[in-house]
């Protein structure tokens, strides 16, 4: 229903979104995931026509957003990062305005507005000024606004930022319910949220799509080595002796559980394709040592996310160097340096901030991006 091809946005020399290509199918909840400054908001703004892409083709239900913007926009409901509310109106007036602007028939406006107000549970707030509503209620008014006109696709940009835990749960429930009748595209940098709601996840990093699949598949694709974690009560030497007997163990780390004598947390890395959990149980049981916990340690979504986004940072660095080499006539000095730090990046980790040190030229770029999405941190 949405086809995006080679979506690119440049601000001057600085490319914020680099050639995104993806398709959104009907009837799913999509998660759009990425660290701060990855280009999420920019991408969503371009999908909804708020921002013009430098280069791309965006086709929504068969309508190109630049050639037939009105038809294309009718198929979309958008809640930007900051809900676009007129504070001196009541939610009812506001929603009536949006409904009319979206071309809802005059006679049906009242019904349509009441319906979305019921679904978002703001019917009691209908007569208050938006100015006087709490953040959670404002967010709901924003979502109600996006639902009006019954668009096929609802795009929500970080809908739970700045809400308290109870409100977050309520908004999530609301989004899950939206997913029953609409396609939803939800951007977030909160992994728990995405894993709780979304069927399908797109992860972007530094303006590039690094993964697009169901959560399970993404997680599975990233599982390289098996590892098992146990908690056991035993003397250290005894644990080491028992583990040494078991085949297939690559290495293990022991940490003492604080406050209790002789209780150890052990994380064991195992060769691929071997399941040692039952073996561990019998070994420790027959030695008379109680296992307090035994679980296979799958990488969490956080780990997968960090892995994917940091891998791409290194790759991104490399590509920038390539770009430099192409522009060699103007950037001679930089080119000479480039391979050195490119290697460094690949070998030596990828904490953020390193680019600032190694590529002064981009330091401004990165901080700019972060500025744009400062709200994310809240």
């Amino acid at each position: 229903m949405i086809q995006v091809r080679n979506l690119t946005k440049k601000y001057g020399q600085n490319t914020v979104v680099k050639g995104l290509t993806f398709t959104i199918e009907k009837g799913r909840i999509y998660g759009f995931l990425g660290p701060n400054g990855a280009g999420k908001t920019t991408t969503l703004n371009m999908l909804t026509g708020c921002l013009a892409p430098t280069e791309s083709e965006i086709i929504i239900n068969g309508h190109d957003i630049f050639e037939e913007p009105e038809e294309a926009k009718r198929a979309i409901g958008y809640l930007p990062e900051q809900p676009p509310l007129y504070l001196d109106m009541t939610p009812y007036e506001y929603l009536c305005f949006v409904a009319e602007a979206k071309g809802v028939e005059r006679g049906e406006i009242d019904d349509a507005v009441r319906k979305v107000m019921e679904e978002t549970h703001i019917i009691d707030m209908g007569g208050r000024l938006i100015r006087n509503l709490s953040k959670g209620y404002r967010q709901r008014v924003g979502i109600a606004q996006a639902m009006l006109g019954n668009p096929d696709l609802i795009i929500l940009d970080e809908p739970t930022v700045g809400l308290d835990p109870k409100q977050i749960i309520e908004i999530r429930d609301l989004i899950s319910k939206l997913g029953e009748n609409h396609t939803v595209l939800l951007s977030s940098h909160i992994l728990a949220e995405v894993s709780a709601i979304c069927d399908y996840v797109m992860i972007i990093s530094k303006g590039r799509l690094v993964a697009a699949d169901t959560l399970e598949n993404i997680r599975r694709s990233q599982v390289k080595e098996n590892s098992v974690s146990i908690t056991v009560r035993a003397p250290q030497a005894k644990v080491e002796e028992l583990l040494d007997k078991i085949d297939g163990i690559v290495k293990f780390d022991m940490t003492a559980v604080p406050g209790v004598d002789e209780v150890w947390d052990v994380v064991i890395d195992v060769d691929e394709g071997i399941d040692i959990r039952e073996r561990l149980f019998t070994e420790f049981a027959s030695a008379g040592l109680p296992l307090r916990k035994l679980s296979s340690a799958e990488p969490s979504l956080e780990e997968v996310f960090l892995k994917l986004t940091s891998e791409d940072e290194a790759a991104g660095e490399h590509e920038r160097d390539m770009a430099f080499e192409e522009d060699a006539d103007t950037e001679t000095d930089k080119t000479a340096e480039a391979p050195a730090y490119a290697n460094y990046e690949e070998e030596g980790g990828d904490e953020e901030g390193e680019d600032d040190y190694y590529v002064p030229m981009f330091s401004k770029t990165d901080s700019d991006e972060n500025d744009d999405e400062e709200g994310d941190d809240e």
Binding site: C50, P69, E70, Y78, Q82, M89, F97, K102
Partner: protein, 288 residues
Amino acid sequence: MGALYKKEFKAYFNSMIGWVVIAFLLFVAGIFVNAVNLNGKYPGFEVSLGSMGIVLMFVVPILTMRSLAEERATKTDQLLFSLPMSVTQMVLAKYFAMLTVFAIPIGVMALYPLFLLLYGSVNLITAYSALFGYFLLGASLIAIGLFVSSLTESIVISAVVTFGAILLCNLMSGLANMVPRTSIASFIAFTVVIFVIGYLIYSMTKNYWLAFFCGCVAEAVLLGIYIFNRSVLAGSFSNVMKWLSLFDRMNTFIYSRMFDITSVIYYISVASLFVFFTTQSVDRRRWN
């Protein structure tokens, strides 16, 4: 477009702005009509209007300051962009909403000549032609204010700059008289104008060569005139300033008692031009 127009119009009366603008205009109109027509026993309603040009300097910035600046500050412009509505429709809806608010006190003022008619003879044709001219003057100033509002996120800056721009319009004919009338002075002044226009072309199109080319052609023509027919330039800059002065044109309606079609067209052109500039300025933000 209709929805936004209605919403904007209502917004002026949800806040104080609409009421303040109407009350202030009517209050000042009341004072002048009282002083000139009732106490002064002068039958020309247009003369009272003539003193009211300056009131627009205060009213128009108040009316236009939040129109686009506030949308940008509160990020509600993202809603408008995502609605099925073009930028032109959005700008026009806002412009017409402001014109409607401005038309309300004008409509009330249209009753004044009729009241005066109760006490003697009033030339209704000159009175209404002057009122129409006053409305057009307001309409073109509102378009300028709308444009200024599209340039900034700050309501205060928007109001102050609009005030300054209208002040400049008001002082234009006075300044025109101060400009030296020699041909070399006109030549220099036009050169400066060419530079400014060249810069504007550059900042709008980001095309250095286009701006440079246009500037060179204009400057060559100017130089040609200066070399071959110097006397044409004498006093020409000050004449152009006078011709462009929005407020001066109002005087033809009031003191010459003429319904001046050239001025009507001029006002409508200025209004359309600035509405067009506004759409460009709003649209450009989506590209940057």
